[in-house]
Amino acid sequence: MSEHEYTPKSKAGKWFNDRLPLLTLGAHLTDYPTPKNLNYWWTFGGILTFCLITQIVTGIVLAMHYVAHADLAFASVEHIMRDVNYGWLIRYIHSNGASMFFLAVYIHIFRSLFYGSYKSPREVIWIIGLMIYLLMMAAAFMGYVLPWGQMSFWGATVITNLFSAIPLVGDSITTWLWGAYSVDNPTLNRFFSLHYLIPFLILGLVVLHIWALHVPGNNNPVGIDIKKPSKDTVPFHPYITIKDAFALLVFMIIFAGFVFFTPNVLGHSDNYIPANPLVTPAHIVPEWYLLPFYAILRSVPDKLGGVILMFSAIFILFVLPWLDTSKVRSAVFRPIYRQFFWILVIDVLMLGYVGAMPAEGIYLVLARVGTIYYFLHFIVVMPVVGYLEKTDPIPMSISEPVLTGGAEPSLARKINDKV
């Protein structure tokens, strides 16, 4: 992994490192040559690691007080809120932590989309990242079921019923997922078990994600291949760690703002009503981070069609590296693609908005337009634009435009602005 050989200074260190080269790994992580032009959009990897650890730590603590039983779950969550020392704080960190996790992961994903970080040779990093994203959605969904409020129960009902759209075996699969003939105590029990498991699967994938990253090294805002180590790189520590730490502090201020000042703004008041299998709340809405996919589901007037399209919206991202035909990675040098990128951002935000609105009238029209554009972007725009677009000239190295202005001063300024 590391280009140079590492030898521990102390005798004991050398003895241990010969048997398990943990110190070599540590040295690699410290010295890891990183492009020197990484901007703040690159700090979200560290922020996401923080989010994962926060969720695991608060989750383990909550599990010490929570009871996974249909008759007791709701009361045990209220018990955490009212009786357990600092229970309110731990639960609010955990519930808002999920939202902050998704906020960070969406920024991280769109960063990749803008700077072409999913392109060769980083396809495997991208695919592992998407697997983490899928597991995050599963964990968040199951976690939302645990308080056993009205939104928990009916959210679980609607999502598990998605599988009933599968021809022939759909109903059997749904019953199997439930362990009953409706969402019931067995469902709650297994969701708790899986909700506890998934974060550790994510942790394992995060290790692979970072390992895969350290093979080719980081992409960077200009998206060119760089020599490592060279004038274009800095060691990860202290240059990147301090930048990551600063970004993390800013992120934590926002996080704390939610936890302390408006801890329920991202939730639904219906979830403070205990689950009732006889009454469905008037407006069932998933958590905000799933709304764009919910809008896609509802935009199709056919059950199976809606479910297929919703899952396709996620799975199409897996083949993205092969749908993008451009040889240039960074959108900084892709004047046409750059515009379509921002249209996609607006499109996804709009889908999120209409997903929260009733599926009728203008909202239904917007959902359909948004869904069509979403798929057109990946299936048509990315291959065609990559093929036809005349890209701007690319610098030879990171140092060239930054230090000398390069052959084209205008270009140098442009990159400087982005960085």
Binding site: W154, N161, Y181, S182, V183, T280, P301, D302, L304, G306
Partner: protein, 173 residues
């Protein structure tokens, strides 16, 4: 050469046999791990519910819980029955006669799962464009016979297995 070939064949046989036995063994262990998630005996034991229907006035309905799911029992008025039977089959996404959704001679009693066939929400009674039920989740409209008329739900609301124990009692399941 021929001796060597024979050896390789013997080894191939052992490989194939080992893999086969291994696969059967793995399958035999995996199946219990999968099947344990299916409804257990306690869940299956809740399979029937008896309901007293003597207090239900014509035009009114009650909701009872059966296997964790709501069941609508509606005593329909003659006008409602006539309305359900006047519907043209071509207007139905999932064509089914009203006569086939009730017990013969007990036409006033509509007994059905109060579960929207789209994604499982409980539809609201006396709502929607067809004088029947309306699902608030994704906007499916059902008529007075519980048949899907408009919206994303693919099929009519399901009729569970039920029977009249006597004139005042219905057994569901």
């Amino acid at each position: 050469m021929s001796k060597e070939e024979k050896k390789v064949n013997r080894r191939d046989f052992l490989f194939t046999a080992s893999y086969t036995v291994g696969a059967v063994g793995v399958g035999a262990v995996i199946w219990p791990m999968i099947d344990q998630m299916n409804p257990d005996k306690a869940q299956q034991a809740l399979a029937t519910t008896e309901v007293d229907i003597s207090n239900i006035e014509p035009g009114k309905s009650i909701t009872v819980l059966w296997r964790g799911k709501p069941v609508f029992l509606k005593r329909r008025t003659p006008e409602e029955i006539a309305e359900a039977r006047a519907v043209n089959m071509d207007d139905l996404p999932d064509p089914q006669k009203d006569e086939d959704r009730v017990k013969e001679g007990k036409d006033e009693w509509l007994v059905m799962l109060g579960v929207c066939t789209h994604l499982g929400c409980v539809p609201l009674k006396d709502k929607g464009d067809f004088n029947g039920w309306f699902c608030p989740c994704h906007g499916s409209h059902y008529d007075v016979s519980g048949r899907i008329r408009k919206g994303p739900a693919p099929t009519n609301m399901e009729i569970p297995k039920f029977e009249f124990v006597d004139s005042n009692t219905i057994k569901i399941g």
